[in-house]
């Protein structure tokens, strides 16, 4: 596996030093850990491992612990098509493109594509900028949110390097452990799921005798497993604001 840690690329031009990032932000992946700790005691309650793969107009959330991968694709009419793959069973459920906010608002494609939507980043306050090129980080906080949201944002890659927020009596922290830029590896991640046996969401009712589909009801969905989104598709990170 070709693994590349954050680095700075330098380019000289007309005697001015300009730092550029040569990574392709449209084909990139990040390995994240998500730690959930007790806010008071700091005790680690749960730790998940989530890989976020981005390729063109698709993004995959691969939950290593649950072995469930959710792939979101932006389609030509602006809607978002979600598919869920159960890696242990090599099976998937395909869905029709839909407004992922269940008809209640904008589709928040950017929230799927880069974990935090552009609209939500704009609500935050920029405290400082550090680093440059691929390492350039914008450090944000959201004082308006009840959940003490903090974000270290990789500006050239449109991915969080680290973010944390409170959720009930817990503190949730996402940390980027590793970046992956090997395009063949990224492509293979998507192709592998395309070769699974898939069932159209609408056909679940006609296949109740299918052992996999019978079991699936107890498996839950990646949207929940990843901890990124609440059940109604809203971002957990800004939960406090939505309840104002």
């Amino acid at each position: 596996m070709k693994t590349i840690f954050l680095s700075v690329c330098l380019m000289l031009s007309s005697s001015v030093i300009i730092a550029e990032c040569h990574y392709d932000a449209k084909e990139i992946a990040g390995k994240y850990t998500i730690e959930i700790k007790d806010s008071d005691s700091g005790k680690l309650l749960n730790k998940e491992h989530l890989n976020v793969w981005r390729m063109g107009n698709s993004v995959a959330y691969e939950n290593i612990d649950t072995q469930i991968t959710e792939i979101w694709s932006l389609v030509s009419n602006g809607q978002v098509k979600p598919d869920r793959y159960f890696d242990e069973y090599k099976r998937g459920i395909e869905y029709q493109p839909a407004d992922i906010n269940n008809g209640k608002g904008e589709t928040h494609w950017s929230a799927k594509y880069q974990i935090i939507s552009e609209a939500d980043i704009k609500k935050m306050q920029l405290e400082k900028t550090t680093g440059n090129a691929c390492d350039e980080l914008n450090h944000y906080v959201n004082h308006a949110a009840k959940n003490k949201f903090k974000l270290a944002w990789l500006t050239q890659l449109n991915l969080p390097k680290e973010m944390s927020y409170t959720q009930g009596k817990t503190l949730v922290t996402w940390k980027l452990q590793e970046l992956m830029i090997d395009k063949e590896q990224i492509k293979a991640t998507f192709v592998k799921r395309q070769n699974y046996g898939v069932t159209d969401y609408a056909d679940i009712g006609d296949n109740e005798s299918d052992p996999f589909l019978l079991k699936m009801i107890n498996l839950g969905f990646v949207g929940h497993a990843s901890g990124v989104y609440s059940a109604n598709g809203e971002q957990m990170a800004l939960e406090g604001e939505h309840h104002h």
Binding site: E94, A98, A202, D203, G205, D206, N207, I217
Partner: protein, 527 residues
């Protein structure tokens, strides 16, 4: 409260009364609208001419359209027209002949679409999950197909020289349409990638392959027969006809790779080679451009999977025709054959909306089916066309409580004489419509895609609906038993018929009798 009676049949009241009763029935009763309207219906029946031979047969099938769905849909349609609703009739509910139909499969108390449609099309009830084969089959075993294949009404119509057509809002390889043309040990073998290697090696063909090669296969089965193939095929399911290669994606593909076929075959291209005069269309624009008087045949695949719910149709990328538009177009192509035609039209997504626990979409798709039946009535001669409207099975969908007359059918129960919702023993309001099992309550507001609910877990049990608008398209009714999907029901369904041979729709019948009604009308077996 007195409600105006409106008899939807539109016939004038017929006030002839037998003299033996004239003196004993008071004038107030004789002049009552309910009395005279009902009497006119009987008079119409007395005036009916019975004929048994038809030139054309159109079979409409509402997938999952149980009797409670009919009742709720007719009320909904009436209420959308500003009426109380209960007095309304769906177009086909005005048909003169009706029967109740037993739906069970040979091995299943509650049936599925594969077994039921096989019975309807062949006259032989069979097992759940299998297409066009009898009960001696072992589901999923290709080797058990040989010798157990059944001949369908569509195949017999082809052999008889009639034009034939299949229209569905589901994938055209889905169980109901497939049972008109395919033989398969497994309903899910829609394309080659769905089949285990062992079954492929055993020689079975996927359902999409059987559709495109229908003519060749039928001629091979009946030596010396020369048929010309299915003239009209319209529905969804493009993925099963295209190779698993992004290079073959249609212009409105929603998947990164639209096709599912792993044998590299493009069946749409193969169809075009076989029928160079045929028109392959994928969207509303292509559909609208079809000249029905000059077009020999149509292959319309308007979605990579199922077509949209009628309420969601406007959101389709490239645009899809409605069921009523497809019905009219199909008839206008098929009736170019002087010998007549057989057409099967399925409203396939009533079933899916119910599976998702979303009554609103189930009702709106049923109303669209009613419009499609009206389109058939408007474009055929009633003296030569038998029209049958039925369902393959029902759903666990109920109309409950004691709502007052005209209460919104999608609303909460408001009792007679009251203006506020009635409260149950748990002090919470409740809706008139509900499901026995399934995914349960969701308030998805303006979401017109019933299947959006599948991204969420089941939520059975009571919910406080006090602040919820239950009449929105995205409202999903409460349920008792949590399941990943709401289920079919085992109760009987209705059959409505009009035209030559329609009067054979009587009593309580097995689903296999429907084949014989079609056969009787068209004289298929003797042709």
């Amino acid at each position: 409260m007195k409600f105006t009676r409106k008899l939807a049949t539109g016939f004038a009241a017929f006030a002839v009364v037998s003299s033996a009763y004239a003196g004993s029935v008071p004038d107030k009763q004789l002049q009552n609208d309910w009395y005279t309207d009902a009497q006119s219906i009987l008079s119409q029946k007395l005036a009916q001419k019975l004929s048994s031979k038809a030139k054309n047969v159109i079979l409409f099938l509402g997938d999952g359209m149980g009797i409670s769905t009919l009742t709720a849909s007719r009320i909904r349609e009436g209420q959308l027209a500003g009426q109380p609703g209960e007095e309304n009739y769906l177009s086909f509910e005005k048909f003169p002949y009706t029967a109740l139909v037993k739906t069970y499969n040979v091995d299943s108390q509650t049936p599925d679409s594969a077994g039921t449609m096989t019975a309807i099309m062949s006259g032989v009830k069979t097992d759940v999950g299998v297409i066009g084969v009898n009960e001696n089959i072992e589901r999923g075993k290709c080797s058990t197909v040989a010798g157990n294949e059944l001949v369908t009404a569509l195949e017999l119509a082809e052999i008889g020289g009639l034009s034939t057509g299949i229209v569905s809002t589901a994938r055209i390889t889905h169980a109901t349409p497939a049972a008109t043309y395919a033989k398969s040990a497994e309903r899910n073998w829609e394309d080659v990638s769905d089949m285990p290697e062992t079954e492929l090696t055993a020689g079975c063909k996927d359902i999409a392959d059987q559709l495109v090669n229908f003519e060749t296969n039928l001629e091979a089965k009946f030596s010396g027969t020369d048929v010309n193939g299915i003239e009209v095929v319209m529905g969804g399911g493009r993925r099963h006809f295209l190779p698993k290669d992004a290079a073959f994606n249609s212009a409105d593909a929603v998947s990164s790779v639209e096709g599912d076929r792993t044998d590299s075959r493009d069946l749409t291209a193969e169809w075009q080679v076989a029928y160079p005069n045929g028109q392959y269309v994928i969207d509303q624009t292509g559909f609208d451009a079809i000249d029905t008087e000059t077009t020999e045949r149509i292959f319309g695949l308007f979605n990579e999977s199922h077509m949209q719910y009628e309420a969601n149709r406007a959101k389709d990328i490239a645009g899809e025709p409605s069921l009523s538009q497809m019905t009219e177009k199909a008839i206008k192509v098929l009736d170019n054959n002087d010998k007549g035609f057989f057409l099967m039209v399925e409203s396939g997504r009533i079933d899916h909306a119910h599976h998702a626990g979303n009554a609103s979409n189930a009702l709106s798709d049923t109303i669209e089916l009613s419009k499609a039946v009206q389109a058939a009535l408007d474009n055929t001669n009633p003296e030569e066309t038998l029209i049958i409207v039925t369902a393959d099975h029902g759903h666990v969908f109920t109309i409950a409580g004691y709502p007052k007359r005209g209460n919104p059918i999608l609303g909460k129960v408001v009792s007679v004489g009251e203006t506020e919702p009635a409260l149950a023993a748990d002090d919470l309001p409740y809706t008139t419509l509900g499901y026995m099992n399934g995914k349960g309550f969701r308030d998805l507001g303006a979401e017109t895609d019933a299947d959006a609910v599948y991204s969420e877990d089941s939520l059975a049990g009571r919910i406080d609906l006090s602040a919820v608008d239950t009449e929105t398209v995205g409202f999903h009714q409460e349920t008792l038993v949590p399941l990943s999907s709401e289920t079919h029901a085992g109760e009987d369904v209705a059959l409505h018929a009009t035209g030559p041979g329609g009067y054979f729709a009587q009593g309580n019948i097995e689903q296999s009798v429907i084949f014989h009604m079609i056969n009787q009308a068209l004289g298929l077996v003797t042709k």
